[in-house]
């Protein structure tokens, strides 16, 4: 008699890996926006270069203060360029 195809009970299935996220580097923080660094599982379009941010890539989520609906996903370098264009990129402190 053929064996039934047994499936592991639900509770033994591995839970999906938590999506990693962390604080953004200090240079990326700028007044008026909340910036987080994430590795998403979906493709997004970067407003800086109009190309895709591929799934799994560490990138920045930029949210205007008070307006979560205008959340945007940026390549790290594109956000850096955006800030540099506006003269908002902080220079690193001189080391002593």
């Amino acid at each position: 008699m053929p064996r039934k195809n047994r499936r592991a009970p639900l509770e033994y299935l591995p839970s999906p890996a938590p999506r990693p996220r962390s604080a953004a580097p200090a240079w990326a923080e700028v007044a008026g926006y909340e910036v987080r660094q994430v590795a998403g599982d979906k493709p997004y379009r970067c407003p800086g270069c109009d190309h895709m941010v591929r799934p799994g890539l560490w990138h920045l989520v930029v949210v205007p203060d008070g307006d979560p609906d205008e959340r945007r996903h940026w390549h790290v370098d594109c956000w850096k360029k955006e800030l540099r264009r506006q003269g908002l990129l902080r220079r690193s402190e001189p080391e002593f």
């Binding site: 926006y33 800086g48 203060d65 307006d67 609906d69 264009r85």
Partner: protein
Amino acid sequence: MPEERFRIETAKGDVSGAWTPAPDPAAPAIVVGHGAGAGMDHPFMVGFCRAVAGQGVSALRFNFPYMEAGRRSPDSAANAIGAFRAAVDAAAVRTGDRPVFGGGKSYGGRMASMAAAEGAPVAGLVFLGYPLHAPGKPDQLRAEHLFGLEIPMLFLQGTKDPFADPGRLQGVLAKLGAWATYVPFEGAGHSFERSRKDDQRENGAALAPHASAFVRDHT
């Protein structure tokens, strides 16, 4: 009528404004904000403003501060709302004591409604494609602040707009009741395009008859 170009003072610096007056100096006015991705001189905005002015409603369009500065990340809610309010004041100065309506394309319309929810003195709102939800996320509606408004609202909306699921929009309209007027654009997308070859200026201008009739009905 020639267009007047001027500067509007906001907390985030001066921004550009353009005033397209209707022939009648006692005409009501509408202040329109641009969409998130293109500024006030996008052909859609210019087409709408010129057409609506020709139909007896003066139009004021302006840049939000981030667009004026050449940035691509929209302003904080407080700064966007502040800029909208400053634009309403600029229109009020130019119309005397005639009513000033608010509105805009997508993001600009949403900011107009948020400004109204925070007390900006607009007589009504005209949405040139309201961004009711992000594409593919019809469960997260951007409508809560609309339910507290007690002014007439006109929703001009493409039936194939990925930012406005027709079923969800119907639910919001039902809840707004008599405050809401809905004009569907059969087969049109978020920018009222029916094909990729559509002329954006004409698409903007095509909304003007609905907007001017709505303003007339409510002044």
